[in-house]
């Protein structure tokens, strides 16, 4: 058995294959969303940038395979400090885009540290939960993971990045659950947190008290999510136009480059947050169902890999990554369909956006690493 054959012996080929398919679909729909068919479009710039991100991401995937994933457990403290440092630096020095300080620039490269923070948090949380695995049924065991998750959560909220904050919270919740956290305490924490948010918002709406975390526009998004017709040309516009785009694709779609909602720019943010609406409009239910099923299939493979992981740390990392993708898919697709509020988080592998593409591919690289090293006899 050659090294290569041995290396690939445990590889779940479904994972790279599905990811590859999703990226192809992504390129097709971005091409349409940036109107590559129009004479004067600058679509190529978008596609080139996206291609560069994919190539860099794949490079990361390959480099990662050279190291055992457990190295992340050893360096957990470093990773955590790096994450806090990056997020704080962004908060202090970052560029403000669309109401949030989310970007930092290193030379010509702009990236959003909050995206990277998702993976970093997963790696650190897995370490902490693994180290406290005996106490996870008690408050004592849940204390450190909660503190660890809370600090980056607050830093991201301060960047006005509600979407990413929710992703972090979801990751924390799922990992705690998978790591054996006490359901009663979790329900208590989650329930009281939810209650506090409801109280704060009600007080704001009724008594005009200040909003501690939310911006006014974020609250409006939540309100129009509940009833978009309140303000069809303002905040509700995005939801209405997205539903029209999706629905009007009917069973088979209007055809590539033929979506009128997309091509005539009724769809907002169509190459990033609302890329799924473009898919739904141009490829119909067949297209949207295919994408949804591909994601289900991919997550199913992840859970399989988690089950087969050689240790509890690997298992927890895979669960964390699964939770991240699950939340992204649910929130993004749900938002385009009007069943989730608009928070502006991208659809993995498909939405235009370099940082998250690289984050996603890094996550896949870590999963493949865990997948390949399931057998203790390897190497």
């Amino acid at each position: 058995m050659s090294w290569k054959k041995k290396f690939l012996h445990y590889l779940n080929f479904n994972v790279p294959l599905t990811v590859f398919l999703l990226i192809i679909i992504g390129f097709l729909s971005i091409s349409s969303a940036v109107e590559i068919n129009q004479v004067d479009s600058n679509a190529l710039v978008f596609l080139q940038r996206q291609a560069v991100s994919v190539v860099l991401g794949l490079l990361v995937v390959f480099i990662l395979q050279a190291y055992d994933y457990r190295i992340f457990k050893e360096y957990a403290a470093v990773i955590y400090l790096l994450m806090i440092g990056l997020l704080s630096f962004t908060l202090l020095m970052g560029r403000t885009v669309a109401g949030g300080k989310r970007w930092i620039s290193i030379g010509p490269i702009n990236f959003q540290p909050a995206e990277l923070a998702k993976i970093m948090l997963i790696l650190v949380l897995a370490t902490v939960i693994d180290n406290n695995s005996d106490d996870m049924g008690y408050l004592k065991g849940m204390f450190w993971p909660s503190i660890i998750a809370f600090i980056p959560f607050v830093l991201v909220v301060l960047q006005n990045d509600l979407g990413t904050a929710l992703v972090l919270f979801f990751i924390y919740l799922v990992m705690l659950f998978a790591g054996g956290g006490n359901i009663k305490y979790m329900a208590l924490v989650f329930g009281s947190g939810f209650l506090i948010i409801v109280l704060i918002i009600s007080a704001h709406v009724m008594l005009d008290t200040p909003l501690p975390f939310l911006q006014e526009y974020q609250l409006n998004r939540l309100i129009v999510f509940i009833n978009p017709d309140i303000d069809p040309f303002g905040s509700g516009y995005n939801i209405i136009q997205s539903k029209i785009a999706l629905g009007s694709g009917r069973l088979t779609g209007k055809g590539l480059f033929a979506g009128t909602q997309n091509q005539l720019n009724f769809l907002p943010e169509k190459h990033t947050d609302f890329i799924f609406s473009v898919i739904g409009e141009e490829f119909g239910f067949m297209g949207s169902a295919l994408v949804i099923l591909l994601f289900l299939f991919l997550l199913w493979q992840f859970l399989k890999i988690a089950e087969e992981a050689r240790d509890r740390y690997g298992y927890l990392v895979v669960i964390g990554i699964t939770a991240m993708f699950l939340f992204h898919v649910l929130e993004n697709i749900g938002m385009t369909m009007g069943i989730m509020p608009i928070t502006g988080i991208p659809l993995p592998f498909i939405s235009y956006g370099g940082t998250f593409m690289m984050t996603s591919l890094t996550a896949v690289g870590i999963i493949i690493n865990i997948n390949l090293r399931q057998n203790k006899l390897m190497f």
Binding site: V174, F177, A178, G180, F233, G234, Y237, N238, Q241, K243, I244, A245, L246, G247, S248, G249, R250, L251, T260, Q261, Q263, L264, N265, F266, P268, G280, E281, G284, F285, S288, A289, I292, L293, F295, L296, L299, W300, L303, A306, E307, I319, T322, L326, V329, L330, I333, G334, M337, I339
Partner: protein
């Protein structure tokens, strides 16, 4: 690993929800959303239709249209996050159009549907149009569409007859649409004259262009066009060459008479003048004018309220069309009616003899005499000569005889036979019917009986008699053609823009008096009219010395309640042997018919191409 199973179930549930939702939107409600997406990208732009032209009998265009631009707001093309107010403010900044005016038009619109355009401003200047079109990237939802503006080639001629246009008001909007027409707020409609009378023919039908727009409202392509239908053209009986000459003559004399009156204490300034030329064999109006008038261009873009105030408050009332909207006593012209009634009812003949001893006429038991215009008796006159001399005494006597025989009704009955006391039916709005007083009228109005004095006064066209110049033109036409009462008509035909005749207006005979009135009556009275002009003793003869056309006519100086302020009339037809036209001239407060006769003479001379030297 129990918890992994739970996670699997949660994931499955989430994905089942997503797929069900996709199926719900795309399969179950797909058609609904498809229609919405079509509605999203389709916008409708108005295409204005030009109003019909007004053309004279010789094919000369009198009123036409020229290209202008209107400004609209399309609410469905405003991108999210931008408000109409913001865009209007930007528009005001860029174009210099007053913001308040834009916002008023936007807020006061009747348009409810967001896909319908809201008219913001009409008839942009070229500079405004260019700067708005150049900046259309900054002005989503703002569109400029071609429109037409009434182009008056002769803005100060035939003003009242043409009439003015203005923005449709609420009452018009409701009543026009109840009639089945399709008007919208902001439309311009005829408000007076022919523009109003033939509004439903002249008005075009707005078309629309269905276009595909993107989210900035920018046109991508045309999907369909509903062509506008241009208004129908109105061809008149008016001969505009004649009209221009008539107006020139009328205006020249009017201005001169006003000027002369300034230096003459015995005279007062005429306050208005009217003249009509009518074809006696069809009722066609060949020329018609009323002065003072106004400039039609004031109304083309919608009149400003200050201009309108100025016109309304002008003491000479330039907006009033004196040919049909004002009525006056006729003075001696009414002797035609008294004469006809006397010949038909009292057996008076052309050679019946009368005697005017003193220039005064006394009614039994009435101390005050009724006077002739001459302060001495004219001795013996036959009926025709009494007409030519316009001798009041003879007609007082006839009026009194008619009263004794028939009380207060017979004379009024004849007046009505000849079309007085009723609208002529000319194709103009707001025509007055005038008034022929009689016994019943007097009882109803003053609760008094019809006295012999009333009858005597009426017999020479005084009392409470009121007639419009159009009624008098009609009266002279009936005498000219000896018995056929034609309806006066301005319009000849209406043609579609393709040249197809939509409405052909034939001469309309309202009554044929030949069955009721003897030829000999017309012959005798016409002889009288002929002598007025052609016998040396005729009251108008000295103005027609050596006139190459034989004219028959009658002077009228109608007294009003104020001293010196007599209305001056002259009615005529020509040529005497084979009449073609009747002519009426009225000088409101003109003093004496000696001022109106020369005006009529000049109009007739112009019509027949008589040179000055021939006279």
């Amino acid at each position: 690993m129990d918890r992994l199973k739970i996670l699997r179930i949660i994931i499955l549930v989430i994905f089942i929800i997503l797929i069900s939702r996709a199926a719900y939107l795309q399969i179950i409600n797909g058609d609904y959303f498809f229609r919405l997406s079509e509605g999203n990208r389709i916008s409708v732009r108005p295409i204005n239709a030009p109003r019909g032209k007004i053309i004279d009998s010789q094919g000369k265009v009198i009123v036409s249209n020229r290209l202008t631009y209107n400004l609209y707001l399309m609410r469905n093309e405003i991108p999210p996050g931008e408000s109409s107010e913001e865009i209007l403010a930007e528009l005001s900044e860029i174009s210099g159009i007053d913001y308040q005016r834009l916002i008023n038009n936007y807020q006061n619109t009747d348009v409810k549907s967001v896909i319908e355009p809201i008219l913001l401003a009409r008839h942009l200047s070229k500079e405004e149009m260019v700067v708005i079109v150049e900046n259309n990237d900054l002005l989503p939802g703002i569109i400029v569409q071609e429109a037409s503006l009434r182009d008056y080639i002769y803005p100060e001629n035939m003003v009242h007859t043409t009439g003015y246009i203005g923005e449709i008001n609420r009452n018009e909007l409701i009543s026009f649409n109840e009639l089945g027409y399709n008007y919208r707020a902001g439309d311009f409609v005829g408000k007076s004259g022919l523009e109003r009378q033939y509004e439903f023919y002249l008005a075009g039908q707005e078309g629309a262009e269905q276009i595909e727009v993107d989210n900035r409202g920018q046109k991508k392509q045309t999907l369909g066009i509903r062509k506008p239908i241009a208004g129908n053209d109105l061809t008149l009986n008016i001969d505009f060459e004649l009209q221009l000459s008539l107006e020139e003559i009328l205006k020249e004399n009017f201005d001169r008479l006003r000027l002369e009156a300034e230096d003459d204490e015995e005279r007062i300034k005429p306050t208005a003048a009217a003249a009509i030329v009518m074809d006696v064999n069809s009722g066609a109006i060949l020329a018609s004018s009323s002065i003072p008038n106004y400039d039609l261009n004031l109304f083309a873009k919608g009149i400003s309220s200050s201009d309108y105030q100025k016109l309304s408050n002008d003491p000479l009332r330039p907006m009033l069309d004196r040919t049909v909207m004002s009525d006056y006593p006729t003075g001696s012209i009414f002797k035609l009616i008294t004469g006809a009634a006397a010949m038909e009812e009292l057996g008076v003949r052309a050679d019946s003899s009368f005697y005017d001893s003193s220039g005064r006429f006394y009614i039994p038991n009435w101390s005050r005499p009724f006077r002739n215009w001459l302060d001495r008796g004219e001795g013996q006159l036959d009926f025709v000569k009494a007409m030519a001399r316009s001798n009041n005494i003879v007609f007082y006597e006839l009026g009194h005889e008619l009263y004794k025989e028939y009380r207060g009704d017979k004379l009024a009955e004849y007046a009505r036979k000849f079309g007085l006391d009723q609208k002529t039916g000319i194709d103009l709005p707001s025509e007055r019917s005038g008034l022929v007083p009689d016994d019943q009228w007097k009882r109803e109005t003053f609760n008094e009986p019809w006295y012999p004095g009333d009858a005597v006064n009426l017999s020479i066209g005084q009392s409470n008699l009121l007639t419009t110049p159009m009624q008098i033109a009609q009266l002279f036409s009936v005498f000219a053609n000896e018995g056929i009462l034609y309806k006066p008509q301005l319009a000849d035909k209406i043609t579609s823009p393709e040249g197809e005749v939509v409405l052909d207006i034939e001469p309309y005979i309202k009554a044929d008096l030949r069955s009721e009135i003897n030829d000999s009556t017309f012959a005798a009275l016409n002889q009288g009219l002929y002598d007025v002009v052609n016998k040396s003793y005729g009251t108008a003869s000295h103005h027609f010395l050596n006139f190459p056309i034989e004219v028959a006519g009658k002077t009228g100086t109608a007294q009003t309640s104020r001293a010196l302020t007599n209305h001056a009339w002259f009615g005529a037809f020509a040529p005497y042997e084979d009449p073609q036209i009747s002519v009426v001239v009225l000088l409101e407060n003109g003093g004496s018919s000696s001022f109106s006769v020369p005006i009529a003479r000049d109009i007739i001379a112009n019509y027949f191409g008589v040179d000055e030297e021939d006279e």
